[in-house]
Symmetry: C2
Subunit: 436 residues, 2 copies
């Protein structure tokens, strides 16, 4: 039987999960792939650290170069995270003619084009299934399962921490800060939590999905990104009354027309309670993919965690094992190869969407008229008005649902409204997605 020698850099949560899956199902993997798989070396930060699953001492080294430079190792698994050292490691592996499997979305987001170009030049592959949506085989499905499709829309719940917090806020009626603190205490959120709750991690993943789906590299700086800090328990409640759930969505949408392009953005979105994505709760991830041939599809599973991520890493190792066994070093064309000329990320200002807006207004006659006049002047249509009873005398909440309007026009109108003396606080605005 053909044999593949593996070297792993990183023995933390995911790394120990990858090793454990091999201990458990290594024979099955070999039988399925027709390739015997052996771990030769695992580079770790400390030989003494306690791990989710133990790693055998004889495989460990504290020098990642031992892995990259071992001539017996054919495939390098990079699981250290971060962008700078990880990039050095991956390029060093390529330079040794080794393909690399990575789960590192931050790395791809920061240095994707350079890394894929280097892999192509070296005649090796860079595999990255585990970088988006953990155990869900979304990269393989987009690239291979849906190879015949143009992707009119992809909506992803791609950050488990945010989804966990929003789910608890909804079910418990709890406030953001309290749920976050509790999530940190229980290990569902990092400290500091910024990478997750400010939407950056979701933006990394959304950028990878967009690049794969549309065939040109989407730089993370082009992705309009809003996190979930501004989602209050109040808005969660009003949204529910209107039949909506608030989810942090990564959105990749093909926009047709004269000014065509691709919307690539991350923001908290009101989605109808009846939509399947509204039922994706807790740390689970999901991707709703609309292809022009396949129609609507959904993928659901654990987006993080040692085992789910390990499952995706093994999907890549399996592909690499078959590629190496068959000496097809670059079986899949680099995914940015099919870029259309002139494709582009649309600036957020040009994107048209629906909106939920909440104002705090003085409780007196004429308020709605003043606000409505500003929207009317901007040619922005109000689809519904909701003013709940309020105990406060200083101000009352006023919620408007707004018809399709460009983000630039909406932004300008809200700035004007914010200056009205009857408007007591900065208006709160979330976009609404109806999936039609």
């Amino acid at each position: 039987m053909h044999q593949l020698n593996l070297g792993m850099i990183g023995g933390g949560t995911v790394g120990s999960g990858v090793f454990h899956a091999w201990q458990k199902n290594g024979e099955l993997l070999a039988a399925r792939l027709g390739v015997a798989l052996h771990f030769r070396k695992i580079a770790v930060q400390s030989l003494k650290k306690s791990r989710a699953y133990p790693l055998p001492a004889k495989l460990l080294t504290t020098d990642w170069r031992d892995v990259v430079n071992d001539p017996e190792i054919q495939l390098v698994i990079e699981l250290v995270g971060g962008t700078n050292l990880a990039k050095t490691m991956v390029l060093a592996a390529f330079a040794q003619g080794k393909s690399v499997v990575t789960a590192n979305k931050a790395l791809l987001s920061a240095h994707g084009p350079e890394l894929f170009a280097a892999a192509t030049k070296a005649g090796v592959n860079l595999y990255f299934e585990a970088s988006v949506c953990g155990g869900i085989p979304i990269i393989k499905s987009l690239r291979e399962g849906f190879v015949a499709n143009q992707f009119s829309a992809i909506y992803g719940i791609v950050n488990g921490t945010c989804n966990y917090i929003l789910s608890r806020m909804k079910t418990e009626g709890a406030d953001f800060a309290n749920v976050l603190a509790d999530a940190q205490q229980h290990g569902y959120a990092e400290t500091p939590p910024d990478l997750d709750i400010d939407g950056h991690d979701a933006a990394h993943k959304t950028g990878i999905l967009a690049s794969l789906a549309h065939g040109f590299w989407v730089d993370h700086r082009q992705i309009h990104t809003e996190g979930i800090r501004e989602v209050s328990q109040l808005d969660m409640e009003f949204a529910a009354k209107l039949g909506y759930t608030i989810k942090l969505l990564g959105i990749v949408k093909q926009i047709a027309g004269k000014k065509s392009g691709v919307q690539v953005s991350v923001y908290p979105t009101l989605i109808p309670n009846t939509h399947v994505l509204a039922s994706v709760n807790g740390v689970f991830n999901a991707c709703f993919v609309r292809g022009d041939i396949v129609g609507d599809t959904l993928f659901y599973g654990r987006g993080a965690g040692k085992d789910a991520t390990a499952s995706a890493v093994w999907s890549d190792i399996g592909d690499a094992a078959l590629d190496l066994k068959n000496a097809t070093k670059v079986r899949v064309a680099p995914f940015i190869a099919h870029a259309k000329k002139h494709n582009r990320v649309m600036p957020m200002d040009e994107i048209v969407s629906r909106y939920y807006v909440r104002f705090s207004v003085a409780d007196k006659p004429g308020v709605i008229a003043k606000i409505a006049a500003i929207f009317a002047a901007a040619n922005i249509g109000i689809s519904s008005v909701f003013q709940p009873e309020s105990q406060s005398v200083a101000s009352v909440p006023l919620i408007l649902m707004i018809h399709d309007a460009p983000n630039a026009a909406m932004r300008r109108a809200l700035a004007k409204i914010a200056k009205l003396s009857v408007v007591k606080n900065q208006p709160v605005m979330f976009r609404v997605e109806n999936f039609d």
Copy 2:
């Protein structure tokens, strides 16, 4: 650019969909795969038939041998359906050294082992993504995405016709016969509808999933199969009152213990309304897959139709294109290669499940005691009793929910109960699945 010449046998619904997808996205496919794709010949039954999408006359032939024997054609796409002639066609293609893509679950179900053995012997591949769950990339996900997983359970809504009928029965409170007649009129059900509504099509697909997941061939005659004819509007309603939805599920479950094995079966099942599969409505398909490494996952999409199925056929053509370009004729080991010794399909009698049972009983004292005594003697526990108000004087409905019990014990107890004079009709029994 490498070129691949395609020959297709079958120009019906799916065949014309496959061709149309290529007309629409052929350039994109070529760019993604790095392979130019050309149709050389399409064998059809009649040159004059009207089609969902038109096919160019110059490609058409009425003799399938023209496709198989054309030395310029490297890949044959078999889309004729049926088992006998289709088998002859596929074997003839193999004999010419050509790989085959098929959407034909009936063919695989009837002749799988022979076909896969013949492909291996000829050094070619048989691709079958489109045979299960239409556009959902479930075959690729099980085989490649989840390559590191043992599959403790797979639950599939794999027949769109049955799901359409059950969904309408639930939402409209309509009766089976009426919905079926209407579905036939609107093209959502065949005439005769037996292959679908008696569960055979679902059994074909469930057998393919089971074989792939567990590495030994599951003969369709080993699959305990019940259709949806016995699902009445009354049971749909009572199930709803108890918090359940009735779905036709294909079930593939690893059973541990002394008498280990794999449950492979198809039957209408009560599932909790809160479970995500309960929300899969209309003609949509879904697969809930539980892997020992990845955890719980769900795949959702269109299970049939010209375009969704075409998307899956193109997934296979894409794989074949890369395999042929790289001269890796058998990249993926035949999926029955990793069979464990002694693995087996468990007889239904040994399977343990929960049950919903409805009796029509005389409305007089002592009835429940008599029924309960028979269950108690068989060591079968009743978890809840529900006797709705009834207008009838001749008999009243009595619904019992039954704790985990072996199917054999349950079958024997129900036969005894049916003989009681206070029991007026053959008892109605459905199994209950709680996914724990």
